[in-house]
Symmetry: C2
Subunit: 348 residues, 2 copies
């Protein structure tokens, strides 16, 4: 036992020079490896073997001081157990990892204060950039970080007042097309379970709903719209409220995945039949839609495309080292959504 | 525009002394705040206002060098979009955050090499401890980190050869009770969709299945057991295979959440009725179970308890600064599971 710890003590003294001696490679190559630069595959293997054998501790902390780059990206999201967040992050990580970047993921539990703490934590960790699906729509949590000149990319939700790139789905068209689909099947009393009113994408989806109705000559009714908070529980509650307030409602559109699951739970527990008693179009998860009985018709967002675009933009900003881009340089990328057909919409 | 960046240039020079001057507080208090120590609420607010106004950059990188503590825990999991992982991490983060620790979450896509890269990355980031739901069951990815003497806590899966604490559900009893429930309802031809055979919990669940059958005097049949890889897709495929190979099968037990969703998709798409044609007991997600029609009977793990235990153990190890605990000091905490009743099991 003592031996083991002695060995660690000794190993801590291993230096970059020991690795050079061990591998026969030049200091420049090893330094390049340690700083995340390109190194030939064969040399990479030699260095890694030497690191292993010498139990060399790469002092990333010290490295960060020297290069002022940590090769690390911070990701701040509302909820880790929200499937949209999880899918997007997984996709973003895949791309960034291939470019030698690690990610630090912070889940802020849809809490503005925790979101600010997360951004501050990442700032102190000197991440090279931040990807954020923002909870706080006034953007104040990002102001300090933005002053550092490092890039910020927003996902899913735009913030007025923060000049940065943003990748999102065309939520207005997504909702409009879904509701249009219901109208085309003869529905006029169409309920909507929407997201929190202060969230940009929730506003867009609500506008899409209203637009589709109005284009069909139907006047939107306030009592047909309820707002949840994007959780499963709120989906259950909103569905129950809608059904209670609107006995003549024949269809409902639900504006995110978790609330779609909640609405289906509510429908099952009230003994309502899909689509005989109520038609439904949900959001975001093709697997869940297939597991429902009958299969749900849903709006799908291009998760992979969103992730790819987010990763590419932040890489571009970091590599260009554009510490001072003009506001007009920033992009808002809107990606098109799709509808996956199920059997949850009845023609009436 | 220029002004903004000039301001940053100036602000970067702000020191801890500037904060002392600005707040009227002593250097010790400010230092304590910056190093994650306890500071009175009123002082904390003063310091944070000063940091904001002076745009002081807390150099966490430099701080790490000085204290040799980063107040950061690394978490390495197989899949971010696995609901069990996501729920546990969320719970662990909540406890650690209350103790002033941040977490760095690394998702290794169920890939042993990426898992090793993640542990090495966290090692270089000098995290104070690692929480791991291991993919590589030989534990070689953890050996270097373990030499540092910092704590490791394993979730869900034990590894022979790595001396450390481990928190898991009593998977054997969980599976045994589920299958016993099916036997009590008259089923004898019971299929099982299990996890990868090299994974400890998957072995335990399989053993539980076999034990329940044998205790009831039923000889387990090989063709009634199929092994998936814990994904939704594999759940669909396994269900299809089981049904094809076993026309006389009347019930199936599925050993994780994703495969349960997959099995339900398979059942729906084959036009099989639950529970008339096939009874099913699934795993892990009460909301999904409620969204199914009919509601699924499922085994539930005590996610919150698991998370709480993991966080408490790692905090204890770090605070005790036990760099050299005896192997016998380590705990394996086994938590009991539960069955949530649905309508997916028929009495025959």
């Amino acid at each position: 036992m003592i031996n083991r710890y002695l060995k660690v003590g000794k190993a801590l003294a291993a230096t970059i020079k020991d690795i050079a001696k061990h591998t026969g490679l030049g200091l420049a190559t090893i330094s390049s490896y340690l700083n995340g630069g390109n190194v030939r595959e064969a040399n990479r293997e030699k260095i890694e073997t030497a690191i292993e054998e010498l139990n060399f501790e790469v002092n990333e902390v010290a490295r960060g001081l020297k290069t002022n780059k940590t090769k690390t990206i911070g990701v701040v999201i509302p909820e880790l157990n929200n499937i949209f967040c999880a899918e997007i992050i997984t996709g973003v990580e895949d791309v960034l990892r291939n470019h030698g970047y690690a990610t630090i993921v912070c889940d802020c539990r849809t809490d503005k204060e925790l979101e600010k703490e997360a951004v501050d934590f990442l700032y102190r960790k000197r991440v090279d950039g931040i990807i954020n699906m923002p909870v706080n729509v006034d953007g104040s949590h990002l102001k300090s970080f933005q002053k550092s000149g490092k890039p910020i990319v927003l996902i899913d939700r735009k913030i007025n007042g923060i000049d940065c790139d943003c990748v999102l789905a065309d939520n207005l068209t997504a909702a409009k097309n879904a509701v249009k689909r219901l109208v085309e099947n003869g529905h006029t009393k169409i309920g909507m379970i929407g997201g929190p009113e202060e969230i940009f994408t929730a506003q867009e989806r609500l506008l899409g709903y209203k637009t589709a109705l109005m284009e069909a000559g139907i006047v939107p009714e306030e009592k047909l719209v309820v707002q949840g908070d994007y959780t499963i529980d709120s989906g259950v509650r909103c569905l129950e409220n809608l059904v209670k307030q609107n006995p003549d409602m024949t269809a409902v559109f639900v504006a995110n995945y978790e609330m779609t699951m909640g609405a289906v739970i509510g429908i099952n527990e009230l003994g309502i039949r899909i689509p005989e008693d109520l038609s439904i179009i949900g959001f975001d998860n093709t697997e869940f839609a297939r597991a429902c009985k009958p299969k749900l018709t849903i709006v799908t967002q291009p998760m992979r495309e969103i992730a790819k675009n987010v990763a590419q933009i932040i890489l571009k900003r970091m590599e260009a080292d554009q510490r001072n881009p003009e506001a007009s340089d920033f992009q808002v990328i809107k990606l098109q959504t799709d509808i996956v057909e199920g059997n949850s919409v009845r023609r009436i």
